[in-house]
């Protein structure tokens, strides 16, 4: 079983240089994530949530503040952090088995041990029997399962997910969300999910971090103290979901709640009735 990592983000800021001028992408983000916790991060596009994840995986550097994994400062990529991108990013010239094995290519341990781990993770994501298939023979959902297996096969301490189901159809998405929850529990790993799907964030997260743009910063953190697996139809679930959605309302919430809605003249209110 993998050791679940403790991730600490302290006063993290990140700038890009656009035409010589600094552009703040992340501004003073602080977040402590407990080992084995599942944290969802939601926000509109441009709120820096993907940049945050790219900093955590080590694909972006040059930041102010601190990112600590088990007390160690994060520098560059490492096999103790795994990532699933929105696109599956499998190598089309490798089979499912070989693609998953890419994850342990540079991991310590013997060949036999690695082969066992590859096989176990193919089974974990439910693709037993597809070992020798090529990516072009797989559906989008299956490809994303392979990507999850590849991210987990080296038994990282933290799993980062960058809108992993964003490109999938609704049915596949909800199925894979349940699968992800099962896999996360089976591996006992710390998980951080970036998404713009509020329902997904609430269904999977122990906490939902709401970010706001320009510059990207944390607006609010909502606890989701519901038992798993979560019933999406339940009152408690809907209440938390509405609470999170409320943070994205264009107008202040007090204005929306006001009972006296101005009626427009009837002529402008006209619409088709079926």
């Amino acid at each position: 079983m993998a050791h679940a990592g403790t991730l600490e983000i302290k006063n993290l800021s990140k700038h890009y240089r656009v035409k010589g001028r600094p552009l703040a992408v992340l501004d003073d983000v602080s977040l402590a994530i407990r080992p084995g916790e599942f944290v969802s991060i939601v926000g509109a596009s441009g709120c820096g949530k993907s940049t945050l994840l790219r900093l955590l995986i080590g694909l972006e550097g040059d930041y102010q503040g601190e990112i600590l994994l088990d007390g160690q400062r994060v520098a560059g990529t490492s096999l103790d952090r795994g990532i699933v991108f929105q696109e599956h990013r499998l190598f089309p010239w490798l089979t499912v088995e070989q693609n998953v094995a890419v994850g342990v290519l540079n991991a310590p341990g013997g060949q036999a041990e690695k082969r066992t781990s590859v096989q176990e993770h193919i089974e974990l994501v439910g693709l037993k029997g597809f070992e020798t298939a090529y990516p072009h023979q797989l559906s989008g959902g299956m490809s994303q399962r392979v990507a999850i297996a590849r991210a987990l096969v080296s038994r990282p301490e933290v799993l980062l997910l960058d809108e992993p189901f964003g490109a999938l159809d609704a049915l596949t998405r909800s199925h894979l969300q349940q699968e992800l929850e099962r896999i996360w529990r089976a591996e006992g790993i710390t998980a951080i999910l970036v998404t713009h799907d509020v329902e997904e964030a609430v269904a999977l997260g122990d906490r939902v971090v709401i970010m706001q743009p320009r510059p990207g910063r944390i607006k609010r953190i909502v606890d989701v103290p519901l038992p798993r697996p979560r019933e999406r139809g339940s009152l408690a679930f809907t209440a938390i979901k509405d609470d999170v959605l409320g943070e994205f309302a264009p107008a202040p919430r007090s204005a929306l709640k006001s009972p006296s809605i101005e009626r427009r003249p009837p002529a402008l209110d006209w619409q088709f009735s079926y």
């Binding site: 694909l59 990529t77 096999l79 990013r89 010239w93 890419v102 290519l105 540079n106 072009h136």
Partner: protein, 253 residues
């Protein structure tokens, strides 16, 4: 369906053959210049039992394959270098593209002056003819490696060697294969060309044609041409099979 397509493909050659046969049988042309098909067949018969002919086939094929192999290796190496290093592309790229403008056959006088009429000059010439298309193919292929896949290599901490052999070369394989196919055609043209133009020494299918012309043996010239065509198609056929096997991971269109 398959049968129909095959039959259709043979229509034009059959018609040309019939036309040729009619011309010569009716005596409408000078049969010393446009020889009857029957004579060609007879000369082909005597040529095919001559060991010198088979030696020529063997020598031409060996020349082609060894020149092609060295040109292809050099081309892949150069293409990968130009594609991966911006510095190398700025330094070598312009010179490479400028040299490419010099017609291949214009190299022959210089090569024969330096290296004589032996195998050396021929091999360098064939390798050079392979180098250009393979370099361009490899360059295009390396450029087509996506940032997404490069990031995957970084996430899994690929070493430089792993980046080359597990990311760049397989990702560039389709374009490299296209370059190699073009290079193979070009190498065969260069093989025969070098045998024509550096004919004073050695044996080869090109030499057979030159011999035919010297002896005013039109039948032998035609037999040589057919042999060149057949060997060339065989080489391409083998290459296409190897390519299909190497790129079996690609979706069929």
């Amino acid at each position: 369906m398959q049968m129909n397509i095959n039959l259709r493909a043979w229509t034009v050659p059959a018609a040309l053959l019939a036309f040729w046969w009619t011309l010569t049988a009716a005596g409408w042309v000078d049969t010393r210049l446009i020889v009857p098909p029957g004579n060609v067949l007879r000369v082909a018969g005597t040529t095919l039992i001559d060991p010198v002919f088979w030696q020529a086939v063997l020598f031409s094929a060996a020349r082609d394959v060894s020149g092609f192999a060295s040109g292809a290796l050099g081309g892949i190496a150069l293409g990968v270098l130009l594609g991966t290093s911006r510095w190398a592309e700025r330094l070598i790229g312009p010179t490479f593209h400028a040299l490419r403008q010099i017609s291949l056959f214009a190299w022959l006088p210089l090569l024969s002056t330096w290296l004589g009429y032996g195998e050396g000059a021929k091999l360098v010439f064939i390798a050079l003819s392979t180098l250009y298309p393979v370099t361009l193919g490899a360059f295009e292929g390396v450029r087509a490696v996506t940032r997404h896949h490069a990031e995957v290599a970084r996430v899994y901490c690929f070493t430089r060697q792993q980046i080359l052999f597990r990311l760049i070369l397989p990702a560039a394989a389709p374009q490299i294969a296209t370059g190699l196919t073009l290079g193979l055609v070009s190498a065969w043209v260069a093989t025969i060309g070098s045998e024509f133009l550096l004919a004073n020494w050695g044996n080869g299918l090109g030499n057979i044609i030159i011999k035919g012309r010297a002896a005013f043996n039109v039948e032998l010239i035609i037999v040589g041409m057919l042999a060149i065509g057949i060997v060339g198609s065989l080489l391409n056929h083998v290459a296409a099979r190897i390519e299909r096997r190497a790129l079996h991971w690609q979706p069929r269109h």
